[in-house]
């Protein structure tokens, strides 16, 4: 073997050894002293924190994503029921009108010198029968919570008004804001000093563009449906809208998103569980269970997620923080599974049951969940100001090109009365609206009338 060949072989050997020893140092020994991590230090650089601040600014539409300050319906009153309009979140005009309405609400609720006057039911109805906009909320808010969500601190209102779910803004001749607690017969009015030109403009544009292309809308108090009628002594909530004809709504498909390992790990992080230090196993039936010292998370194949926390933390949340916590978790889960459906609040916190509930919105309408385990898409329970459990049925809903027309209002009312009268002597309908009924089975759902009855009186 000649000298050059030996040199070549030696060179190859030394180069290979160089790589082997270098790799060993790089991956096993690390080139930095123990405790120093180049990659984690990048996150502490100032430029990185600037980037994160910018990113979180654009991500910080959590509140609107969960729509827990959004009404489920806006009714534009014109003084004439033939031109009265109803908008849901799927309508293009809904958000622009809502934004202007909130500006008016903020003006009304930010000045503690403006007096709040208690008014009669009749005066509230008069407002709805004149030029005004009615915001129908899916849940009752405490005055304190509503003010904080709006971003104000209106002490005067929080001292006098307990809860409400109906708000109206009249804009002619003057701008006034009305809050209604229908059940307890309490109504308040706030005169806003400034005009609401932008709101009036938006409303005008909407009315003009939809001329003649909509059913006639009456409130049930207009038709005396809020007084007992029929053999079954049925009453409707006075603010339920009665439509002269039915409209078409898209069919939706409910899907159970695939939860692969990456998605599950990201969901764990939402609940501040460390995927690297917990136990995980699969139960019979395919439910995946994650166990940490102070919390358990279960997700089954049907998309049912259940989080339970056993340990307490020193932080005690107020009503507002409880709501933002639940919304933040729900947003996180929906973002992780890339679900575009927004959620709406269905129940705010009350001391009686300590539960906050959210439901999905699909095609602008509420998805009314009616499953064995949950009656709302999200149910979160709090005890002593701390989150104890969070349950969610993970779903995504897509609208299809198919449309169906539900029963007309009066026909639907007849059907509901005849069903309930089998078990009730008196029927008090507190909500009746178009939505989607979901029994947690996957597949197509058509828009239907959803009727909520206040109380149950067993028939003889």
């Amino acid at each position: 073997m000649n000298k050059e060949r030996i040199k070549n072989l030696l060179l190859v050997f030394l180069i290979a050894m160089n790589f082997i020893l270098g790799s060993r140092i790089l991956f096993e020994r690390k080139l930095w002293p123990s405790g120093y991590n180049f990659f984690s230090n990048i996150s502490n650089w100032e430029i990185t924190s600037i980037y994160q601040n910018i990113k979180s600014f654009f991500d910080n539409d959590t509140i609107y994503k969960s729509r827990f300050l959004s009404p489920e319906k806006i009714v534009i009153n014109t003084g004439d029921q033939t031109t009265r309009l109803s908008l849901d979140p799927a309508d293009a005009e809904f958000n622009p009108i809502l934004e202007e309405a909130y500006i008016v609400l903020q003006k009304a609720l930010s000045d503690n010198t403006i007096p709040t006057n208690q008014i009669s039911r009749g005066e509230f109805y008069s407002a709805l029968n004149s030029s005004s906009v009615y915001l129908e909320y899916p849940a009752e808010y405490s005055a304190d919570l509503f003010a904080r969500l709006i971003g104000t601190n209106y002490e005067a209102m929080t001292k006098i008004l307990n809860t409400f779910s109906d708000v109206a803004i009249s804009y002619s001749p003057k701008t006034c804001v009305y809050f209604a607690d229908i059940e307890n017969d309490i109504f308040y009015k706030i005169n806003v000093n400034k005009s609401s030109e932008e709101l009036v403009m938006r409303l005008g544009e909407c009315i003009e563009s939809r001329q003649g292309n909509h059913p006639i809308i009456n409130y049930s108090y207009d038709l005396k449906f809020d007084q007992p009628f029929g053999a079954q002594k049925t009453t409707l909530n006075p603010l339920i809208q009665v439509y002269s004809s039915a409209e078409e709504y898209p069919t939706i498909i409910s899907k159970n998103p695939v939860l692969d390992k990456n998605i599950l790990d990201n969901i764990l992080k939402i609940f501040e569980m460390n995927p690297n230090t917990m136990s995980r196993y699969t139960q019979a039936g395919g439910t995946t269970v994650f166990v940490e010292n102070n919390a358990t998370l279960k997700i089954d194949k049907n998309g049912y997620l259940e989080y339970e926390k056993t340990a307490s933390s020193p932080e005690v949340l107020d009503e507002y923080s409880m709501l933002t916590t639940v919304a933040s978790i729900a947003d996180g889960v929906n973002r992780t599974i890339k679900n575009e459906n927004a959620m709406s609040i269905s129940k705010t916190y009350s001391l009686q049951d300590g539960t906050i509930a959210l439901d999905y919105i699909a095609g602008g309408l509420r998805v009314n969940l009616n499953s064995e385990k949950l009656s709302h898409a999200v149910e979160a329970k709090f005890e002593n100001g701390q989150l104890k459990s969070y349950r969610q049925l993970i779903r995504s809903y897509e609208t299809t090109a198919n449309k169906t027309k539900p029963f007309e209002f009066l026909e639907a009312l007849d059907i509901a009365i005849s069903e309930y009268s089998k078990s009730m002597n008196e029927i008090n309908i507190n909500k009746m609206y178009i939505g989607y009924n979901d029994d947690a089975e996957l597949g197509e759902k058509n828009a239907e009338w959803i009727v909520n009855v206040d109380n149950v009186i067993i028939g003889e």
Partner: protein, 273 residues
């Protein structure tokens, strides 16, 4: 260009570089060993302040382990009824949610644990069995039932004409604590069969960095009260939540620390991130 000269220079350079790298590695190894030894002394002294004694050699041996796999395993039991059918056969009836029987025997379950017993005169598996063929027959029987016993510690004993063959599950040469099966047989066949077993799943495994043994022993010290002598420290795996049924489970490394009273404490071996 004189390539021969260039090669010579490169060879000399590479020799220098490799020697430097090698020296660095050797130096780090020596430093590591010194550090581990010092840490061991400190740990042993700290435990002694709480009346806990441990052999330094045990700690030193344990300190050498830096990583272990976390991996998924599947329970051999997919559902109680079909598992019972595969062992005892015949007309299976359910006594309750955790017990099934047939004319050939009965199977009782608690979580992942099962216990199968043959009826009088019947055998779970009939073949002429001696101590010399007991292991082969047991492996064959378990293989037919879907148990992967390739990597397991095996043990055979005989007493009062009953041969016992035990299989203790191992993964990557580490024991899976509280997991194993035992078959009891006589010369006519297998009389009873009990335990729990998992096969390695197709799901991905990952490498877990391990906590330092000092940290583990400090955790042990905080959990233990009273004087004791640590007789064994062993790295292995443990299925969480004993008594609960697991269709599949992520096995993560744990340290099993046993004292002279045979009390055992299991501590999660993974580094917290």
């Amino acid at each position: 260009m004189n390539w021969s000269k260039v090669k010579s220079i490169m060879i000399a350079f590479l020799i220098l570089v490799n020697l430097s790298l090698l020296s660095y590695i050797v130096f780090e190894e020596i430093s590591d060993n010194k550090r581990i030894s010092k840490m061991t002394d400190t740990t042993v002294s700290l435990l002694a302040t709480q009346d806990i004694k441990v052999d330094e050699k045990l700690v030193l041996d344990s300190a050498k382990k830096k990583t272990a796999n976390s991996l998924y395993v599947d329970n051999v039991i997919s559902d109680y009824k079909s598992f019972s059918n595969s062992i005892i056969g015949g007309e299976i009836t359910s006594v309750n949610a955790d017990k099934y029987k047939s004319e050939n025997g009965e199977v009782t379950f608690k979580g992942d644990y099962f216990s199968a017993v043959s009826s009088e005169g019947n055998f779970l598996y009939r073949e002429k069995i001696t101590k010399s063929n007991a292991l082969r027959i047991s492996e064959k029987y378990l293989d037919e039932l879907g148990f992967d016993t390739k990597n397991s510690e095996k043990n055979i004993t005989e007493e009062n004409n009953i041969i016992k063959v035990s299989f203790n599950k191992e993964i990557d040469n580490l024991p899976v604590f509280k997991t194993g099966v035992t078959l009891q047989m006589n010369e006519s066949g297998i009389i009873s069969f009990y335990g729990s077993w998992y096969n390695i799943s197709e799901q991905n495994s990952s490498i877990a960095e391990l906590k330092s043994i000092s940290g583990v022993l400090v955790e042990y010290m905080n959990k233990k009260s009273g004087a004791s002598i640590i007789s064994d420290i062993r790295l292995g795996y443990l299925v969480p939540e004993f008594g609960t049924f697991h269709e599949s489970v992520l096995l993560t490394p744990v340290w099993k620390i046993t004292d002279d009273n045979n009390d055992t404490v299991y501590i999660d071996a993974r580094e917290n991130n």
